[in-house]
């Protein structure tokens, strides 16, 4: 682990970005040529199709098309939604803050609770607490997140109606203050954020638990205990910081799965973020929007992976010792 290693990671991320661009281009050009969709329209004449091909730049050679596409993408011109005729970038801009809010809260809760439960279980290994925590987290891990979402609606929006079942705020409500509005949003956030938390919790728990178990059996811990340090201090001061490292990588790897969860959970709760936007784009066969959201999903995962690598670099004790 060195600055050179980090530079290598950054270069790899850049290459991955380029790969994603190429991939995205061919995926939609080759498989989803917009004119093949339009050609299915009953009264499209060959001339009209030709006109459309020219409009989309499809009559140019492939390399030229790719250059156009890459240039447009870099300038954040992602085309126009076939459904709303608004620019895809505007659609994404409207949706993005809602997804960041949901993902941020869900990931934060899952990390904190999962890590904490993992520590609890590892320090009580083999006890009944350990067993039931393991069982619970494996169950939430095995359960599909959209099903967890539906169950949450059944329980806390229908059977005991304490939380709204969908949307991000009460429709048509007038808010007297900024705080009122925030509280209303928070109320709507509870169920989708819980679903996301439960989806992610299990992995954090399992990794933290096994990482802690590993660290607790290492020699330096035995030494710290032998010189008479209290157990709680050994756990908090020495075992936990060392065990946390794999978690950083996990959160990055998890992020791809989070993006999947975002699609289903936002769909269930009509949460107006990127997932909901993609779902509507699937239903309407709105390819420019689908292409745009796919790009944003991929780019954010790549960037977050790079961020995790950088964080790993900062946190790794071997770097600090040097």
């Amino acid at each position: 682990v060195s600055p050179r290693w980090l530079a290598g990671k950054a270069l790899a991320a850049l290459l991955t970005l380029i790969f994603v661009l190429i991939f995205n281009f061919f995926l939609f050009r080759v498989m989803g040529d917009p004119t093949t969709q339009l050609a299915r329209l009953p009264r499209a004449t060959p001339e009209e199709i030709q006109e459309l091909r020219a409009y989309y730049g499809l009559d140019k050679p492939v390399l030229g098309q790719f250059a156009d596409y890459a240039g447009d993408t870099v300038r954040l011109d992602l085309g126009v939604s076939q459904q709303t005729r608004r620019s895809v970038w505007d659609e994404i801009g409207d949706a993005l803050p809602w997804t960041i809010l949901l993902v941020g809260v869900g990931t934060l809760l899952a990390t904190v609770i999962g890590t904490w439960l993992g520590i609890v279980a590892a320090t009580r290994r083999g006890t009944r607490t350990d067993d039931s925590l393991l069982g619970f987290s494996l169950f939430t891990y095995a359960a599909p997140e959209y099903w967890i979402g539906l169950i949450l609606i059944l329980l806390f929006a229908v059977a005991i109606p304490i939380f709204p079942a969908g949307l991000q705020m009460t429709p048509g409500a007038e808010f007297s203050s900024w705080l009122d509005k925030a509280l209303d949003v928070a109320e709507h956030l509870v169920l989708p954020a819980t679903a996301l938390t439960l989806m992610l919790l299990g992995q954090y728990f399992v990794i933290m638990r096994s990482s802690m178990v590993d660290v607790l059996t290492e020699d330096f811990i035995t030494v710290k205990r032998a010189i008479g340090l209290p157990w709680a201090r050994v756990v908090r001061g020495h075992a936990v910081p060392n065990a946390l490292l794999p978690l950083v990588t996990l959160s990055a790897i998890q992020f791809g799965a989070v993006m999947g969860g975002v699609i289903t959970i936002e769909t269930i709760f009509s949460w107006p973020g990127l997932g909901d936007l993609s779902f509507r784009a699937i239903e309407d066969k709105d390819f420019p929007v689908l292409q745009g959201t796919f790009l944003v999903f991929s780019v954010s995962v790549i960037l977050l992976n790079l961020l995790a690598d950088a964080l790993y670099f900062v946190l790794d004790p071997r770097v600090q010792d040097a």
């Binding site: 790899a12 991955t16 790969f19 994603v20 991939f23 995926l27 939609f28 498989m31 989803g32 494996l138 169950f139 891990y141 095995a142 359960a143 599909p144 997140e145 959209y146 099903w147 539906l150 169950i151 609606i153 059944l154 929006a157 229908v158 059977a159 079942a165 992995q203 990794i207 096994s210 990482s211 178990v213 590993d214 059996t217 794999p246 990588t249 996990l250 790897i253 992020f255 791809g256 799965a257 993006m259 999947g260 969860g261 699609i263 289903t264 769909t267 269930i268 993609s278 779902f279 699937i282 239903e283 066969k285 689908l290 292409q291 796919f294 999903f297 991929s298 995962v301 790549i302 992976n305």
Partner: protein, 249 residues
Amino acid sequence: MRAALLGTKRGRVSVAILGLFVFLAVFGALIAPDDPRASSTAVLEGPSAEHVLGTTELGSDVFSQVLAGARVSMVVGLAAAFISSVLGSAVGLIGGYFGGWTDRVFDSFENWFLVIPQLPLMVVLARLLDPSLTVLIAVIGLTSWAGTGRIVRSQVLTLKERAFVERSRALGASDWHIIRALSFLGLGDPTALSWGTMLEHGFAAGAPSAGAWWYVVPPGLCITVLVFAIGLIGYALEQQINPRLQDAR
């Protein structure tokens, strides 16, 4: 291997559960009390003597749908898992064995597939192609091999990348609900009856907000229990294969 599976209570229970689901996949449609697709006027009714798990929005018997839906759910899952593990093993073996440039190329390919978010990718592919079971299986198989590839490669090189193996094992299990997620989003074969499509139809018909728990709980529970059992079996097998994991427990 037999000892690993049947030696513990956990292993026996998981094998029994998996056996039950395999049985349902083969015979489920035959032992279903009703025609799972038959509609009736008894719409979204709760459990009764006649309909043990109530009825759907079209008045079909939920219990019969759960039994009959096992087949598509299991077949799609197994076929996709098969493709993804064959592909992953091949890429991992070749890369790890030959090393050098081959490995570097294969490895970056794996990295790309690990980084590109899987469900969004599958959603895009499934939407661009026309929905059918074959497309569904191919799309899942072709997009989810990278985790396996990474495990196999590290096994070929050394056995030391433990944290990664653990993580990817978990990823392997997640294939199973990703499959259901595609069906849930309406990207599966619309005519096939599976637990995923049951949840999709239930959701689209507003079953959760109508409080129709009998329609929502059973298919999701089947998926959960199946994934849970497969996870435990994988875990037991891995402990047998990799002795280091045994020590760490």
